[in-house]
């Protein structure tokens, strides 16, 4: 019996959920502010979660949506971070122009790197993204005079208007706005084109689509959003370091997408938030367990791959459709 599975479709219910979530997230800092020092910490964590959600969402445009595994996405995150750091700290540029420059810079870099990478498919595409990511990491490390090398760039100025609370709300607004844009994108003809190139690139070619071109455009868009995330992250921590470009940073959104659900739009955001939350909880429980975080993460991933590759969202969807069907 053919089933009626539809990916990337929304129902009216999800608008309600979205509205509730946004409301909760907006009110959250006001609640946290009452908790004094603990509140400050959790506000910082919440801001980080919001920003990292954007990072993971941006990767999933390439990964789950586009069907291409990129191991070098942190490069664009890092470019965004360093753009903000360099412009604000060293060139005295204001917050707003710096935040506009970040995604533009990373989109440009994504265009250059992506041009080479989309010329290959499958595993070779992945290896090439890894290679470029690490090359960019190394370049950043070596350009000591420019980027501070190993030390990174510290002391990025924080404009007076941006208290921790207002910065959180700003990030929330920007990320929500980005999410809305991504949603439009996935539901547009361009989005359908990308899904075509994922499902059957050969057939797409024979319909007249220059697959490489669209993959590159998608790659650039994803890179731009990653750059915005990087810029926001640099401003949050008020420093940028070379670790932001390392492949281990590239792995984070991949895990987030797997855990949250690669085949849905919101999945990576959920996955990213859950993983950050877990890491913090484990850190709170037992200091020593921090070292075992890698092992725990590995076990979680293992479990997800074997038993729930569609992620949290996928499991939720399965439960939902099973409840509807009388068995």
């Amino acid at each position: 019996m053919p089933s009626a599975l539809q990916s990337y479709e929304s129902t009216r219910k999800s608008w309600l959920i979205a509205g509730t979530v946004i409301a909760v997230l907006t009110l959250l800092p006001f609640v946290l502010n009452q908790l004094g020092r603990t509140g400050e910490y959790w506000l910082w964590v919440a801001t980080e979660m919001v920003i990292m959600s954007l990072f993971s969402l941006s990767l999933n445009l390439i990964l789950g949506f586009g069907g291409m595994v990129s191991f070098g996405h942190a490069a664009f995150f890092g470019v965004g971070a360093y753009t903000v750091a360099l412009l604000m700290k060293k060139a005295g540029v204001g917050f707003l122009p710096a935040m506009v420059a970040a995604p533009l810079a990373s989109a440009l870099v994504a265009g250059i790197i992506g041009w080479f990478c989309v010329r290959r498919v499958g595993l070779y595409f992945s290896i090439l993204t890894l290679a470029f990511g690490q090359l960019l990491f190394m370049i950043t490390l070596q350009l000591y005079a420019f980027t501070g090398g190993d030390d990174g760039i510290h002391g990025i100025p924080r404009p007076e208007l941006l208290t921790p609370l207002s910065y959180y709300l700003l990030c929330l607004a920007l990320v929500a706005g980005s999410f809305w844009l991504m949603r439009l994108l996935t539901k547009s003809p361009f989005g359908l084109t990308i899904r075509m190139t994922r499902e059957n690139p050969e057939r797409a070619k024979f319909l007249g689509i220059n697959v490489k071109r669209y993959q590159l455009i998608n790659f650039i868009i994803a890179g731009g959003f990653a750059g915005l995330a990087g810029g926001l992250f640099a401003e949050l921590n008020r420093f940028a370091q070379t670790e932001y470009l390392h492949w281990s940073k590239s792995a984070e959104p991949i895990f987030a997408s797997l855990v949250g659900g690669m085949y849905s739009l919101i999945g990576p955001a959920i996955g990213s938030t859950v993983l950050i939350f877990l890491k913090i909880i484990i850190q709170q429980i037992h200091q020593g367990l921090v070292e075992i975080w890698a092992i725990i993460l590995g076990v979680i991933l293992l479990g997800m791959v074997l038993f729930a590759p569609e992620g949290i969202v996928g499991v939720y969807e399965k439960i939902r459709t099973q409840r509807r069907r009388p068995q």
Binding site: L63, G122, Q142, I295, L306
Partner: protein, 294 residues
């Protein structure tokens, strides 16, 4: 430029390349037959190296005997670990899409590397070379470290052995058939799962053997797993998958390249495999041994 110095680096690079060849051929074999890129291959190699370290401390003093014991015991040990992994995990992902396979093997990297850190700690270790190989040979007025020479002999011997196994033995026929006609083989009554398991174990055996040799060649620490797997990717990109000769050439290029760059631009040495990968993939994606398609 001192000739002795140059020679030293060259020999060092070549022997590192030989060890890399041993490891990379294991990875290539596993990919050819099982169609899985085993990210954790580097971690298995690292476990082999640390196992060699632990075992060697049991035989303090009797270095030659110890070394022979290491070669005899560690690779099968890693192979058995591989058996456990194959039966419990890898078997379940053969039909899954590549991304999931990659993620599974990467999660193994996290787990295995984490366990390695827990068991052996973060210190740098090494294994003493057997006395007979600890010095150097004086040839034509130049010194050649004996252990490195040993590896320069063992490497090609192993390559020859692998070639014989793959192209002249019954087991090799099964392996090569499984690479080329996986579905057909089952229909012909061959126990394909068993071929896959044995191939995987062979791959792990080679990883372990590489670990033993490396533990006496240079210092080992917790980073060697990731370093080696990246270099393996570069070898596979240069030499193409499934070519013993290609793996050898690729390994030697990487080995020598890293050795020389390390002297002159120490930090860039880590980038060298990536640069090579990027260049080859951009210019000649079918590797140095393959043929372009169109």
């Amino acid at each position: 430029m001192n000739l002795q110095f140059m020679l030293f680096i060259l020999i060092n690079g070549l022997s590192q390349g030989m060890v890399l060849f041993i490891i990379a051929s294991g990875l290539s074999l596993v990919f050819g037959v099982l169609r899985v890129i085993n990210f954790a291959h580097g971690s298995l190699y690292m476990i082999g190296a640390f196992m060699a370290f632990s075992l060697s401390s049991l035989f303090a003093g009797k270095t030659l005997f110890a070394f022979l014991m290491l070669m005899l015991l560690v690779p099968p040990g890693v192979a058995i670990l591989g058996l456990g992994l194959e039966v419990s995990l890898f078997r379940r992902i053969y039909r899954k899409e590549h991304l999931l396979q990659l993620l599974l093997t990467y999660s193994l990297v996290l787990i295995l590397d984490g366990l390695t850190r827990l068991i052996w700690g973060g210190q740098i270790r090494n294994v003493p070379r057997p006395e007979v190989l600890a010095g150097s040979l004086d040839l034509f007025g130049l010194y050649f470290p004996s252990y490195n020479l040993f590896l320069l002999i063992v490497g090609p011997l192993l390559a020859a052995g692998l070639w014989v196994l793959l192209y002249r033995s019954r087991a090799g026929n099964y392996i090569r058939a499984a690479v080329t006609y996986p579905e057909m083989l089952g229909a012909l009554g061959v126990n394909v799962p068993r071929v896959m398991t044995w191939t995987f174990m062979l791959g792990c055996f080679l990883a372990g053997l590489g670990g033993v040799f490396m533990s006496a060649l240079a210092n080992i620490d917790l980073s060697i797993g990731m370093e080696r797997i990246i270099e393996c990717f570069a070898v596979v990109v240069i030499g193409g998958l499934g070519s013993v000769g290609g793996a050898m050439l690729g390994s030697l290029i990487i080995g020598v390249g890293v050795a020389f760059i390390q002297i002159y631009f120490s930090r860039m040495a880590l980038v060298f495999p990536y640069v090579i990968m990027a260049l080859v993939l951009i210019i000649r994606p079918w590797g140095l041994f393959g043929k372009p398609e169109r």
